[in-house]
Symmetry: C2
Subunit: 553 residues, 2 copies
Amino acid sequence: MSRPKLKLIPLGGLGEIGKNMMLLEYADDILVIDCGLMFPEEDMLGIDLVIPDLSYVVEKRDKIRGIVVTHGHEDHIGALPYLLPQINKVPIYSTKLTQGLIQVKLKERRIKEVADLKILEFGKEATLGKFKIELFPVCHSIPDAAGVIVTTPEGIVVHSGDFKVDYTPVNGNGTDLSRLAQLGAQGVLLLLSDSTYAELPGYTPSEQIVGASLENVIANAPGRVVVTTFSSLISRVQQVIDAAVKHERRVFIVGRSMSETVRMALDMGYLNAPEGILGRIDELKGMPNNRIVMVTTGSQGEPTSALVRMANRDHRHVHIQRGDTIVLSATPVPGNESLVNRTVDSLFKQGAQVMYDKLGQVHVHGHGSQEELKLLLNLVKPRFFVPIHGEYRHLSLHARLGEEIGIPAANIFVLEDGDVLELTAQQARINGKVGSGNVYVDGLSVGDSEGVVLRTRRMLSRDGIVVVIIAVNRQSGKLVGRPDIVTRGFVDTRESRDMMDESRELLAKTLDHGSGRIAEWGFINTKVKDTLEKFYYKKTKRRPMILPFMVKV
Amino acid sequence: MSRPKLKLIPLGGLGEIGKNMMLLEYADDILVIDCGLMFPEEDMLGIDLVIPDLSYVVEKRDKIRGIVVTHGHEDHIGALPYLLPQINKVPIYSTKLTQGLIQVKLKERRIKEVADLKILEFGKEATLGKFKIELFPVCHSIPDAAGVIVTTPEGIVVHSGDFKVDYTPVNGNGTDLSRLAQLGAQGVLLLLSDSTYAELPGYTPSEQIVGASLENVIANAPGRVVVTTFSSLISRVQQVIDAAVKHERRVFIVGRSMSETVRMALDMGYLNAPEGILGRIDELKGMPNNRIVMVTTGSQGEPTSALVRMANRDHRHVHIQRGDTIVLSATPVPGNESLVNRTVDSLFKQGAQVMYDKLGQVHVHGHGSQEELKLLLNLVKPRFFVPIHGEYRHLSLHARLGEEIGIPAANIFVLEDGDVLELTAQQARINGKVGSGNVYVDGLSVGDSEGVVLRTRRMLSRDGIVVVIIAVNRQSGKLVGRPDIVTRGFVDTRESRDMMDESRELLAKTLDHGSGRIAEWGFINTKVKDTLEKFYYKKTKRRPMILPFMVKV
């Protein structure tokens, strides 16, 4: 019998931004790293969430020895509620804050009982079958983020998690370069490294730069300041609090999700606020405007967020006033640009001054740019390199960086979800493919929207639908009366009454031609579609979906 | 009788990017400046184009003395085919290339006869009722672009067109700063100035920077080079030709729209190519790869463009090979980002190297940044200032720049489409509003999609449609058989057969309760909708559109 090989199987995050999930498999042991979701793209009409195809891992559920989660963002934890009920109860390792966020997520979905959550402190080891895992600190846009060191029978695998290098982080640790250098000296078999910002030359600036901008705004704003950011970006909230203390303003947290996160971060010690600096929303009244800073969500233009409600004069407590300064301390996630732009426009219309990424350095992102990626490659010096977390171009560009720092091209693998990379201490090659792809969550249903339903929605969204109802005598098979036509989303029915009448007339004539016993349904179906498609296209240059339906009476 | 006032009435381009159109009205004379279209946003499902509301100008058609067009981009000329058939034949002034592009546009729409196209050379004057107009050169991303000087009975109005300041333009003239300074010294009543890039600090770099990058790529690429850009960006094509000459490559123009523009630009003298440098596509075969440059469209990821066909291995003549270098010499227009990203991903997968905006300076845009906007304001020194061409935030930021260079805030007007600004030599104020907004072009129909149809498409796109067909006896008014249910875009009908059956059963029962003579249609309609909405939401958490239909038999 041949010696088992180490297998690396990405189930998500390679070829896309989001739904990160990676498997390491050796003989009878599987280790799962992250289990995230992805928010739908614009053409995924009506879809709520996207998760990885879990069929492979569910099929091999008896081999799973454990799950390790690098940090608490949705694209790393969001699919856990869909995975856990389908597998055996296994330990789920993470840092403390990550565990807190997983707990919240599982509670929301009411599936707490299947989870065996364990905290793994940085530098400590846990054994999961043939694998040993250790977490090391990385700097990212959420506290307590980690990378993973996996000791396997074939060698050491380093998984970067999502990371950047910030020598002056606002809270918590920076990326542990020493530990990585130490591993590099020891010899690393395989590096898996974050490619999200592989397009950007140079270094990602430190959070401190943003701190300075925010302080500048808070110091000089003539009236109230509203800072919006992601609720998980706790270091940003810390910077607002620090600046508010310095410039004698009080801080008001507005909105449910921001309040919850802040409360949890305070309780767990990830956020420090001096006594009395945080105010309740009912204390706002009567305070001078230039003593107020509000912190809230809505930096992505989410329609239900506090900021968007304020912008639309729809918030219960806070109305935008002339003299307010609003800071969007975030970059729009691709796809959200127009929502964000509309929000900014509304704020300007209400007389506010608005600061956002194009106008000044009020945000830095959480991923390393090219020089940081090269630094990591350089320290870890892996034999093999697989870029992870990115669309294909990010992975390709990251691969090129690997070549530039001296890894042979043959040792770099640009994989896609489902590819199986087999490794020994000496060799690596792609061998096979497992089921992978997008599984759509649409209301309560998981997975069934992929094909027909989604394509149909796309068609419906273009030129609407025409339903043709043809009543047929059950015995004689003859047409009863004229066909009925109902449309939705095709034309303005008030204005197009004549055309619709004409099409009914035409249809009645067409169907009557085959008079006597009406022909079989397949034939009628085609006939109706052809006739109407041509007629409507000629009249309107539109191509609605045409849906003939026979009623037997 | 009081002295007439000068009226400025923007019909498009203020509060949006696109469909630029401006009216100047004085007593019985109206001058129209530009008449453009806008491409639909993502939520305008099935809409082909958007044009300004023309009702005001059509109603006052007898007052129109002429139209002046600043340059040949779609957002400045694209609505002419919709306006011209609705008004009297009036002169349309423009520069030579702009005229050529208007001719092409009118020919496409078969409405050449209504246009009286006239060339107005820079510095020459034309009289249109009480207005005198003069064009001055501006630098923009198309040759022969102009701004307009309008002498009115109340003073001089300067309209910047779309402009940037480039001291080393690739072809044609730079922006005529001297003429503007001269006007400023003379005294300008009102400046209308392009706000598209009012968010960007600093100066827009010169086209020459791009020239250097392109030459660098063309000089060093190991194989073929494919440069994609907008077909109207003729200076970019010129730079490719120049670099190809220098580095002994031949240039192949690929794709219909790029070929047509290049031919026209060569004929009219806007593009210079030495004998023999341009090749026909059938000469490609047998040429060494490192002697080839192709120029084509597709920089926006347009599905039918040559580049996208190449990326998808779907082009008749050109297949991407390992060693090809593709340059996307353009920035994605907002809304096109994901199409562009997918194209870049495909190109990387085919083994090409891809250069695009994030990786290097392969494009500069055609609008002035903040320092250029301030330069213009500074030279023209207008009494009144109206920022034009931009969404609300661009206009607001541009207004702030106006204040910074010393124009009193009370003399700056952030207008929106339809606002009427009344001016005399001394005063200006907003007085009234005319009909304005988006008119949708959807197939052959113009305007009717605004309300119901578009909203319906949006609903259909979310959770699909359920059609319920209820057969009723014409005489007795009683239900005939069980209701029929057809769905599209709601659930996978194969997998949800049981649920659909159950809902039919439920409906039959519900309707039977009111047994005997079936109640009136309004009641049934509501009953059916309520019953199914609740049932389906419980079962699926989706809310399809429910469309009950009664067939009388």
